[in-house]
């Protein structure tokens, strides 16, 4: 109270004599402000804070333990750990180049499919869907995000793979010759007896399945941001004669840009770490294999799931190191994503 009136004094200056006199009064000395915390509150504060500390500790331990266990392998391999493609820890030649690139290829394929799907779904739910079925659609998409990944894996392996083979074959035949990622080694389009088995268990199929798994999450984040686009500006655009798409592209999309980028990155983080679906579908190879239509690919998580069981102590250490690499990459991607989404929610990107 007292400091405030002093500030007021400097601002108003001599104009107001009476306030000056009041401030000079000897009885009004500055009070010391303090928060009195009684014992239960202090205990509660301590408990709550320790809860937060435990969570952070657990999360730090995840990284720390992987580092400790994987250190031996990283030390033994040296820089080769990053550039070596083969995975044979017991003979000393191993590296994550192949599995890491495989992970990236699968994730990129997944995002290539998931981005338009989730974008369209989010926009449909937030802008086009009839008011009555909107809550139902939101629930459905959220439910799909909760469906276990093993179910997607089963579907991809038994249902989708055979369906995609003709498409892969067509792409390899007509697009492959001038687009290297779609070319397939050992496939001759002019051979009438060529089997489509070279196209099974490919990065492409795994990518599509992972895309379906991440699309609901990505879509749900995008929808939330789209729905926050200010009503006044939407109506302003419509009142100026914009079509619906004009309104969307001039108001909703600029406003939701952060949500689109952040949601996509979050989806990317999820698809980098996906294990079971990839493990079921792909047939593992240990070379960098950028021809996504061809049989064979790999990912870090699939490698761990594949090898952990019959591994020697040193091989386990190598797997831990690979897990650490995956952990760091997903952490960076997720962290970037959540920063972007958080910033877009506060509206600072919505220009």
């Amino acid at each position: 109270m007292a400091p405030q009136s002093e500030v007021a004094l400097t601002a108003i200056d001599i104009v107001n004599d009476e306030t000056a006199k009041a401030a000079e009064a000897p009885t009004d000395s500055p009070r010391t402000l303090s928060t009195k915390v009684d014992r239960p509150d202090a205990v509660f504060r301590w408990v709550a804070r320790s809860g937060g500390t435990i969570v952070v500790t657990v999360m730090t331990l995840v990284g720390l333990f992987l580092l400790i266990r994987g250190f031996e392998a990283i030390q033994a391999a040296g820089p080769n750990f990053i550039v070596e493609q083969a995975w044979d820890p017991n003979s000393g030649t191993f590296g994550i180049a192949a599995v890491f690139m495989g992970t990236v290829f699968i994730a990129l394929t997944a995002i290539f499919f998931a981005l338009p799907l989730s974008f369209g779904t989010a926009l449909y739910i937030s802008e086009y869907a009839p008011q009555r079925i909107k809550p139902l659609l939101v629930t459905t998409v959220d439910l799909m995000a909760a469906i276990p990944s093993i179910v997607y894996g089963l579907w991809g392996f038994f249902f989708l793979s055979p369906l995609v083979l003709p498409l892969s074959q067509w792409l390899a035949t007509y697009v492959g010759p001038w687009f290297p990622p779609f070319s397939v080694e050992g496939f001759d389009p002019s051979d009438p007896l060529a089997t489509p088995t070279v196209f099974s268990a490919s990065t492409f199929i795994a990518g599509i399945v992972v895309a379906l798994m991440v699309a609901p999450i990505t879509s749900s984040i995008m929808r939330e941001v789209f729905q926050q686009a200010p009503l006044g500006e939407r109506e302003g655009a419509l009142a100026l004669g914009a079509t619906k798409w004009g309104m969307i592209s001039s108001v909703v999309l600029p406003f939701g840009r952060g949500g689109i980028i952040g949601g996509t990155m979050l989806g990317l983080g999820r698809s980098l770490g996906e294990t079971i679906a990839v493990f079921l579908i792909i047939s593992p190879v240990f070379v960098i294999q950028p021809r996504i239509l061809e049989k064979g690919g790999n990912s870090i998580s699939a490698l761990i799931a594949l090898r952990y069981n019959e591994a020697s102590a040193f091989e386990i250490s190598a797997l831990m190191a690979a897990g650490l690499a995956l952990f760091i990459v997903t952490l960076i991607v997720n962290f970037g994503a959540s920063t972007i989404v958080a910033r877009s929610r506060s509206g600072s990107l919505g220009d």
Binding site: P40, D41, F44, A48, G51, G52, T53, V55, V56, V58, M59, F65, L66, P116, L117, G120, T121, Y124, Y128, P135, T139, L143, A146, P148, S149, I150, L154, W155, P166, L167, L212, A215, S219, E235, A239, G241, T243, K244, W245, G246, L266, G269, R270, L272, G273, T275, I276, S301, I304, A305, Y308, G323, L326, F327, T330, L331, N334, F335, A337, S338
Partner: protein, 453 residues
């Protein structure tokens, strides 16, 4: 909200189409909506404008171009080019359909309108495609899982006496159901207090440390589940434990914790600060405010957060794969011996080449999915309301508590106090403040909610 938009949309698109062609200055007589009211037909009744968002001409264009696309693609497939495959047929048909629809709209409309119609069609079909794919995932799994689900032993036995070549009338997955339930219970015992406590810390004690915790939790929400499993596996290796149900539960906890913290944090932040401030103004301490105001207000949201985390935790395979071991026997002790869970059992079943095992795998997946869907629907039923919104039953109990208080206060004013001990600051009955919504609007709110659900 969208109602307003939709209504606004029909006339605006008309304007865009008409504006360059007619223009109010050129031929004012033709338009009924100019401002200077000297038109000859001002007295004539204005024709009612249609505010429908679906235009007949668009529907006709859609049907026409769809039929043309199917016809053209059939011709391509069966006569012109050596193409095959159902998926290819659908893709080419769709491409043709878009092209034809664009051309057809372009005959009558200007560029922005064509773009609008095309965008609308593309968005509708993308959403339809995703939903179709998701439904096909569910239906396919159920369809193939139906066969083993018909055998009662599938739900009552474990797999210990079923060999690889046995028919579906031997063996079941009850051991996996038991394992899943034990694991998720332990995980929940660990997750619920820790997760909600952390969320409370984040909302009640904001500061630099809380911000740091929030950042860490957000970055960990999408922690790859295999890394969580690997972490627990590293501990097992480090300290010489064996794989067990408890280890798997710990791995699931590591995975669920950030999810629960994050969604609980979001829910707690939605509690109106006026409620908390009211409690503080009445002299309540922080923990009393949290316990009697914040938590009850956000109860439905917190429950939802926990249940959604549970649904994710139940379905994860990879952490369990690394830490639980796998077994075909019943194991009720989470601390010793391997244990299995539904997703892990599914995984081991479908890796087998035996058709019966694959069928069992689909059956297990169907059981798992039913479990997840039930959890999810419970979460929706509880958590459909925002903080402070009450179900009709809660509404009734609140208002009866409020009536009691009113009666008590009046009795006190009239000097017929029942007990001498009652103090003004801590009335015993109203543990929870009155609902955030004013009483008259509250019932309609809850009715809306129930019809929506």
């Amino acid at each position: 909200m969208t109602d307003v938009l939709n209504r606004a949309e029909a006339p605006t698109t008309n304007e865009v189409q008409d504006a360059p062609a007619i223009g109010p200055e050129v031929t004012p007589a033709k338009t009924t909506w100019t401002r200077d009211g000297n038109e000859p037909d001002a007295a004539a009744p204005e024709p009612r404008r249609s505010t429908a968002t679906i235009r007949t001409v668009d529907v006709i264009r859609l049907i026409g171009s769809a039929m043309a696309a199917v016809g053209f693609t059939s011709w391509l497939f069966f006569f012109a080019l050596p193409l095959e495959g159902a998926l290819g047929f659908v893709l080419i048909t769709y491409g043709m359909f878009l092209l034809l629809f664009g051309i057809l709209t372009g005959f009558d409309e200007n560029r922005p309108t064509v773009r609008d119609r095309m965008a609308s069609v593309v968005m509708h079909s993308l959403a339809f495609l995703l939903l179709l794919a998701l439904f096909s995932v569910v239906i396919y799994t159920f369809g193939r899982g139906l066969e083993p689900l018909g055998f009662i032993n599938f739900f009552t036995e474990d797999m210990s006496n079923a060999g690889p070549l046995d028919d579906l009338d031997r063996g079941g997955v009850l051991h996996a159901v038991v394992g899943t339930l034990i694991m998720i219970s332990i995980a929940l015992i660990l997750t619920i207090p820790l997760g909600i406590l952390t969320a409370i810390f984040l909302t009640e004690y904001p500061g630099r440390f809380a911000r740091f915790v929030r950042t860490v939790v957000e970055a960990m929400t999408a922690l790859p589940s295999i890394v969580a499993g690997l972490f627990v596996y590293a501990i097992i290796v480090q300290f010489g434990f064996t794989r067990s149900g408890f280890a798997a539960a710990c791995a699931i906890t590591v995975m669920m914790l950030p999810i629960v913290v994050r969604s609980a944090d979001v829910v707690l932040r939605l509690v109106p600060s006026s409620l908390k401030e009211a409690a503080r103004a009445l002299g309540a301490s922080t923990w009393r405010t949290v316990w009697t105001v914040t938590m009850p207000t956000a109860r439905s949201g917190l429950t939802t957060a926990v249940i959604l985390g549970t649904a994710r935790g139940i379905g994860e395979t990879s952490p369990v794969l690394l830490t639980a071991g796998a077994t075909t026997f019943f194991n009720f002790n989470p601390f010793s011996g391997p244990m299995t869970s539904l997703p892990l059992t599914t995984f081991t079943f479908v890796k087998s080449p035996e058709l019966n095992f694959i069928a069992r795998g689909f059956g297990t997946a169907a059981v798992l999915m039913v479990l997840v869907v039930i959890l999810f629907l419970i979460a929706r039923a509880i958590g459909g309301r925002g903080p402070g919104q009450l179900s009709p039953r809660q509404q009734r109990s609140r208002s009866s508590a409020s009536r009691n208080d009113d009666y008590r206060f009046r009795a006190k004013e009239l000097g017929i106090a029942r007990g001498t001990k009652s103090s003004a600051l801590a009335p015993p009955a109203p543990e929870v403040p009155p609902p955030a919504v004013p009483p008259p609007s509250a019932p309609t709110d809850s009715i809306d909610q129930s019809t929506k659900d």
